[in-house]
């Protein structure tokens, strides 16, 4: 991280602004992604992400504007349509859930590729630039773009902060929330919409194919370090922030490298380190402390009723 800061001191102003905007996206994606992952919605975000291409391409085709805001709005619309389609398939057909996700994901991506490719071969202005939404390319962002991304991210995080009680209640036990009179289904929908917004806003940073990593990996890292929700949100935000920041900085230094893969690999590095090194849950800690843990157990839990701890999974 010290190297990063050192490098950043030498970067041009524009890059710093872009870096801040994209880092804000990473942070917000980590925070909102935490709820997505806790609600087992990780892959719904993936289907939405692949579908954004269609909207982005159509936005360019229909309006002729290369403005990032316009393109992202188009992406958001198609992402929401994909989510609706997924819900419809699950509700009205007997197709399995995972197959439905794979179908929506791949077919919508195919449609997006068809549109972009068709637009490129017809020489529609700006269509060549759409390719950067595949794997992310922050080097082409302007300061205004970064401002847009940053603003949306801040608003997203604010939504979570303000509605923390509601989000936690619905994420933890939607039946109890509904029975207590809360509109659990609507709140769930709002959460999904927030994830879709984050996925769209993450497109310039990571691209449609990899943006789901921004929403999934930081919460996974955070969960290794804490058992409480608020620290988890903070850590996820931090990890997302640093991953996205690294991606931008490295991408600006090596212009031919797409940003997405760098962001993902930095985040994964955090994850692997955490899996091994985090206290209590980390693998190194568990193997070392096994013998002392077992005796600690029998005194802390109820007599005669021992509970498994850590991360042993039921098969």
């Amino acid at each position: 991280m010290i190297h990063l800061a050192f490098v950043m001191a030498f970067l041009p102003y524009n890059t710093l602004v872009v870096a801040s905007g994209v880092a804000a996206v990473g942070c917000a994606a980590g925070v909102i992604g935490t709820f997505g992952v806790l609600r087992k919605r990780a892959l719904v975000g993936d289907a939405a992400a692949h579908a954004t291409l269609v909207g982005v391409a159509l936005a360019l085709l229909v309006t002729g504007q290369r403005n990032l805001a316009v393109l992202l709005v188009g992406g958001l619309v198609s992402a929401m349509v994909a989510i609706v389609l997924l819900v419809l398939i699950r509700k009205f057909t007997r197709t399995r859930d995972d197959a439905a996700t794979a179908i929506v994901l791949s077919v919508s991506f195919g449609l997006g590729i068809t549109l972009i490719s068709g637009m490129v071969s017809r020489g529609i202005p700006g269509s060549g630039g759409l390719e950067r939404f595949l794997l992310g390319h922050t080097a082409s962002l302007t300061a205004n773009d970064a401002l847009l991304l940053g603003t949306v991210s801040v608003v997203g995080v604010l939504c979570i902060v303000v509605g923390l009680k509601e989000a936690t209640m619905v994420a933890f036990d939607p039946d109890f929330a509904a029975a207590s009179g809360w509109p659990a289904a609507t709140l769930d929908l709002v959460l999904i919409a927030l994830i879709a917004v984050m996925v769209v806003v993450g497109l310039p940073a990571a691209g449609a194919v990899l943006v789901t990593a921004l929403v999934v990996i930081p919460p996974a890292v955070a969960r290794q370090w804490t058992e409480r929700l608020i620290p988890m949100l903070v850590i996820a935000g931090l990890v997302g922030f640093l991953s996205a920041l690294s991606g931008v900085v490295i991408s600006s230094l090596a212009v031919q490298v797409p940003t997405g893969p760098v962001v993902v690999l930095v985040a994964t590095a955090f994850l692997v380190l955490s899996i091994f090194g985090a206290p209590c849950r980390g693998i190194l800690w568990r193997t070392r402390a096994v013998s002392s843990l077992s005796s600690e157990f029998l005194t802390k839990t109820e007599v005669g009723v021992a509970t498994p701890t850590g991360t042993e999974r039921r098969p």
Binding site: E166, F172, D175, F176, A179, G181, T301, T309
Partner: protein, 266 residues
């Protein structure tokens, strides 16, 4: 839903809980047929029956968690939406993700804050209410523990504490004793009996007839339909138990299937 802490002016002569011709279907297939009964006064009320008999469905349909195919449910003569703040629900333990990063105290606080308005987090009052509820179920020492690190009985008591924190008048519990050791069961039953003594109605889905006979004031025997309901001694007769437990009434299954197909049975 939005909290007000005043009691609803509904306790007239209306029964506390009334099921009127309640039929519930999953998809198109009826799983609970024409349940019709009313509970007038506070008591400890058990819903007993074999597996898959629709007991949980009865509770969930009462709370609008699953859709009714016919019939109504009334609390003090009013619809659910009007009296939600006076009702607390304890769902089955299997429905919860025990790996969720919340502590025991966090969960109980969720109950206390569930009656507050939008975006209101609650403060000292809610925290003290949560602590009091935890104390009531004997888990005050476990407040900071993550919920996955508890035994079955402890987890159940956390859920009960969450419901207590709602300060409700009617408590609906779905299999509160499932996977709970005998000692904890006694403890939980005592707490429920206390609630009944304080004038609350406690309705619990339960699976064990022996403990049911011991603890519940009144019972409903359910096997896809209401076989019998009333005071425990009157209902738990050999004839009623045979009708409830000796094999599913094939006819209801067959007709259920025909209804689902929108056709006729053979």
């Amino acid at each position: 839903m939005t909290g007000n802490n005043s009691a609803p002016e509904v306790h007239a002569d209306n029964p506390m809980l009334e099921w009127h011709d309640l039929t519930v279907a999953y998809g198109r297939r009826p799983v609970l047929w024409n349940v019709d009964f009313e509970i007038q006064d506070p008591c400890l009320f058990g819903i007993i029956g074999p597996n898959g008999a629709g007991k949980s469905t009865l509770l969930k349909a009462s709370l609008d968690l699953v859709q009714r195919a016919g019939g109504t449910v009334r609390f003090w003569g009013q619809r659910l939406a009007e009296v939600r703040s006076k009702i607390a629900y304890v769902p089955q333990r299997e429905t919860v993700d025990w790996d969720f990063p919340v502590s025991v105290m966090d969960v109980v606080r969720m109950g206390a804050t569930s009656r507050l308005g939008w975006f209101r987090r609650g403060g000292k009052r809610e925290r003290e209410l949560a602590l009091a509820s935890l104390d009531h179920v004997g888990l005050a020492d476990f407040a900071k523990r993550q919920i996955g690190k508890l035994s079955g009985g402890q987890q159940q008591r956390v859920f009960l504490a969450r419901a207590l924190a709602r300060e409700a008048e009617i408590y609906l519990l779905d299999e509160p004793m499932a996977g709970v050791d005998a000692g904890s069961q006694e403890q939980i039953f005592s707490i429920l009996a206390e609630l009944r003594d304080q004038g609350k109605l406690v309705v619990a889905v339960h699976h064990d007839i022996r403990t049911a006979a011991q603890w519940f004031d009144a019972i409903a025997l359910v096997d896809m339909r209401l076989v019998a309901a009333g005071p425990t001694a009157e209902v738990l007769t050999p004839e009623n138990l045979t009708m409830t437990y000796s094999g599913r009434l094939g006819i209801l299954d067959e007709i259920g299937e025909a209804v689902e197909r929108r056709g006729r049975t053979s």
